[in-house]
């Protein structure tokens, strides 16, 4: 497979002085993505021809009201779904036509999910929750523990490793989720309304954590409908009616 060979991608829409855009440091390249849902009589276009690219180290917010198609776009970016048509390259790999199992592998290696509702396993300790992605790529137990402890310390939860989610505060839970997202050194961290279930102070704390991760070189894609949250990113892609409405640099 030779990505980038068919069409020279249009890059740099969001250049904001991090890396000079070149095929090598493009993490996400979406070209004319369509997603059509077939209802009984009619077809609904959730996405109608979305194209954009994200460079390594960028901090991007995808913003839009509910029903705008941003959730659909997030599912495509997160490799949870495949587009009806169009191409999606993730880290140089065309993923829009992969099978379920191949997508699972990509999700494991390339994407770190952070959900609005944390989605931790209730019966497992923080440590076990964080090491879970490593189980699915066959990392040996000793290495799993070592790496899980390391990322938990990175999100300042070194002293809460054996706690179960119900013994942790909302902010701590979301930090466990962030640690889980980080453990495989993914190409992107994909956060879906990460502060939606938190009070504003705790939400702020989580946003600071994202800022820190961004500064240490992680690529972050944040999906939100709140302008305040989106404003913490360095670039906002506005989605409306399944299309990119506006793509602006901020900060």
């Amino acid at each position: 497979m030779e990505p980038f060979s068919t069409t020279e991608p249009e890059v740099g829409t969001g250049r904001d002085g991090y890396d000079s855009p070149s095929p090598d440091n493009i993490v996400i390249l979406a070209q004319d993505l369509w997603k059509t849902y077939d209802m009984e009589a009619i077809s609904v276009n959730a996405l109608s021809g979305v194209s954009f690219s994200i460079v390594r180290g960028e901090y991007v917010a995808i913003m839009g009201p509910s029903g705008s198609g941003k959730s659909t776009l997030m599912n495509l970016i997160g490799c949870l779904d495949t587009p009806t048509s169009g191409q999606y390259w993730l880290n140089g790999r065309l993923v829009s036509e992969l099978t379920d199992d191949e997508l699972a592998y990509i999700r494991n290696k390339e994407i770190g999910f952070v959900f609005q509702t944390f989605n931790l396993l209730a019966r497992a300790s923080a440590l076990h929750n964080v090491e879970l992605p490593l189980i699915y790529n066959g990392t040996p137990p000793a290495e799993r523990l070592e790496r899980a402890e390391e990322v938990l310390r990175k999100v300042d939860l070194g002293d809460r490793m054996d706690h179960r989610p119900n013994e942790l505060s909302g902010g701590q839970r979301q930090r466990v989720a962030v640690a889980r997202a980080l453990i495989n050194n993914p190409s992107i961290i994909l956060a879906d309304e990460p502060t939606g279930n938190l009070d504003s102070a705790t939400g702020d704390e989580i946003m600071n954590l994202f800022e820190r991760l961004h500064q240490s070189g992680n690529t972050i894609v944040l999906v939100t409908h709140e302008h305040d949250i989106a404003a913490r990113a360095h670039r906002i892609i506005h989605i409306r009616d399944g299309k990119i409405d506006r793509d602006e640099k901020v900060g």
């Binding site: 699972a104 959900f115 699915y136 040996p140």
Partner: protein, 414 residues
Amino acid sequence: MAKQLRNIRENLLLALDTLRTHKFRSFLTVLGVLIGTTTVIGVASIITGLNNRLVDTMEQYGSRSIYIFKFEPGIRFNLTREERMRKPLQYQDAVAIRQYCPDVEEVAVDMFYNGPAPGAKYKGQEMLDAGIQGATAEDFSINGATFVDGRPYTELEDTHRLNVAVIGSDITKRFFQGEDPIGKDIIVGGNTFRIIGALGKRLSFLGDNSDDRTVYIPYWTFRKIYPDAKENLIVAMATPNRMNEAMDEITAVMRRMRKVKPDQENNFGMATADSVIKQFNQITGMVALVMVVLSSIGLLVGGIGVMNIMLVSVTERTREIGVRKAIGARRQDIVWQFLLEAMTLTGAGGVMGIILGYVLNFSIRTLFPSVPSSVPLWSVFLGFLVSISIGLFFGMWPAMKASRLDPIVALHHE
């Protein structure tokens, strides 16, 4: 491969954790599997016990003994016309066997009392269920009888039709507590016999052995006292390792003695310890088959329960499945997770069933010492294997269902 094993270990721990979380629910779910496994183990242990006991009981009479009857041994409900017309075995048949069968070492002839037990009396005490039997002197050595006191009668005592007797152990116990029976006179059916020997206790198969309640008197004495008795039993002992040859020779001699034409079936029967055990095995085999069918029903019901609870489990944990898929679990990972959970569940039921089977076995041994039941190892393996297979089979559909969930839908499941 190592990766796969690690995943299995991981899933196993997870499954055990789920089991711990839902102890009571899990227990109820695998009750059917538990009962099914217990039945398998229990029945297998009883059959093994009966079998061992039968082998021991038969072997005390000598593995080289060949019993010759008027009829084919075995359970039968009615006799054919030919069978009803058969004449009894004759003393002369035994003489012929001794003479013409080179592979027969010794021959004994027994004669049984017709009708209900005559009972025995000693010094005003009475033992109603005591029986009497005529036997030639060889009978004791062929049948492996042990003498705790005295001696067997001699051929001379037999041919002179003397009123001497060798008594079974129950009779000794009943009449001669702390007393030497030798030389005492015992009355059986109105006739007085001088006791010259006392036998050791016989092993018995189910209940007590009637040999222990028997007064043995010389064959010819018996015939003198009971001239109406007709039915002889001939016991031949083969030379070592020549059982089949001895049986062939006996068959040939008996056919000639009983004037069986070449195109006719034998009009007599033979049995050995081996053949009795084989026959018993056929019966227990059928009992085992019936129990297998019954326990299969328990296991089937248990299996459906497991499938049901696994479907509940999949629904309850839809979100978890979504999360696992989102962070990289493939279909097979999810399938294995739920399959192993179902197998752990039924496997645990199987282990409990095996333990209960052992308890059952212990209770039987304690309550019925004459059934020395013992759990055969194969039934433990079978029980465990079957219970795990139940989990595998009935867990398959829920596991497949879980693995096919769309991660997006699963993640938003409430």
